[in-house]
């Protein structure tokens, strides 16, 4: 997970969101080949924990709910509020589909779907 965070940190999107990102200077990536050797300065490490984009759907759902509640606190009938809650609904649906898919993820079944003639997967039904 640490490597993932490091990579996220390097993407232009993430660096642009940093307050003190050096604009115009090339992004230094000496640690891409040796992710473990990266040494974080205290400022950067704190920022990384706050700014990293959510990977998983659940975090996205959580964040979208917070955003929707913020958007609706000003004006409940506005387009932003409605669109924000629609996004929550969309992400919740995607999250529930992902959960269903995880539930059905039996490695043997997945293998046998593609290779039914192998020894492990042959069925004798008569």
């Amino acid at each position: 997970m640490a490597t993932l965070f490091t990579l996220n940190f390097v993407t232009p999107r993430a660096t642009a969101s940093l307050r003190d990102s050096t604009k115009g200077s090339p992004i230094k990536v000496p640690y891409l080949n040796q992710p473990m050797k990266r040494v974080l300065s205290p400022l950067e490490s704190r920022r990384m924990q706050v700014r990293a984009a959510p990977d998983s759907l659940s975090e996205k759902v959580e964040q979208s709910i917070k955003e929707a509640q913020e958007a609706c606190s000003d004006d409940p009938a506005s387009g932003e509020c409605v669109a924000a809650w629609d996004e929550v609904e969309e992400l919740s649906a995607a999250a529930s589909h992902a959960r269903d898919r995880l539930k059905d993820n039996d490695p043997l079944e997945n293998y046998c779907k593609d290779n039914p003639e192998t020894d492990e997967c042959k069925t004798y039904d008569n």
């Binding site: 659940s58 409605v82 919740s92």
Partner: protein
Amino acid sequence: MAVCPVYTTQSLNSTCSISTPSKTHFSSHHNHLVFYRTSKRTSKRGGSSSCVITCSAGDSQTVVIGLAADSGCGKSTFMRRLTSVFGGAAEPPKGGNPDSNTLISDMTTVICLDDYHSLDRTGRKEKGVTALDPRANDFDLMYEQVKALKSGIAVDKPIYNHVSGLLDPPELIKPPKILVIEGLHPMFDERVRDLLDFSIYLDISNEVKFAWKIQRDMAERGHSLESIKASIEARKPDFDAFIDPQKQYADAVIEVLPTQLIPDDNEGKVLRVRLIMKEGVEHFSPVYLFDEGSTISWIPCGRKLTCSYPGIKFSYGPDTYFGREVSVLEMDGQFDRLDELIYVESHLSNLSTKFYGEVTQQMLKHADFPGSNNGTGLFQTIVGLKIRDLYEQITASKTAAPLQATKA
């Protein structure tokens, strides 16, 4: 019009070229009969004569079904039941985008209409529109591609990635025997509506929707009862304005309501489901109970069949729905045992089954699907069988037409 007009010229030695629409696939899915006469000997006469075979629309016999339902699309239960009636499991296209919403089986291809969003998630947020709003959807592209698939032309359909909220690069969709378009707006655009051979609308009442969404979302960390309620309330105006009116165009509406058998029930576990079937639809004969066109109320539980609480109650009768004649078959309650299901099936008529007990067999095949013990599963299965019957009737009538043309 399943006839390919063949234009031949007077000359004996003629070279024929087949000009077909681009990207037509001569795969096993199509029964293209192309007759052409080629001659290796070059014509000595001046003026090359070519014979052109044009294949007109409808030759590929693609039947298009529209399914309107809220909260997007995907591997929903109805689609799995429907594709299972035709045989085979529907799966996402192999080797393509893993976040594709399309499902492909031997006979059917299911397309999610979310793929025709013109605005991605950030675009919609900027403009302040929901996915329900027609402004967020490209109906022209939807019409063009559905028309092309219906005519037997493969298309490059965009993909809307529900996880990232972006529009991914398109994927190739080959015309199937049965094309199902599922989503929020299959019947919204009039041109698309005219392409549909059969349309279904899933009408979930507000109380049931709330109960289902609670079941779905309470497992999510960020959600609470208030957030779920707020989400439903916020989407309601757009839903009522754009999605709900589509039910008047549907040939079959499956309406899901809270049960009337349990007073003050708010769990939403027992459901009252109504199958509203439009009369006079071509190739579609409504299911009926006991006597077509009469009103009947039936409780199967009694001496022959013992049911547990709250039991089962059926009713059937003619009605009007948005000014149109319909027949309504209603089931309230739950199935507990196999013999209840087979008992009920034996008393329903016009089910379009191929053998006695087919409905029960289909329901048992997917006993783990939600709704397998109540009217939702039963009516979805019945609609699936009706669609199979409709497909067979359309296919039979299309193959009969050219035979008649050649005879004439």
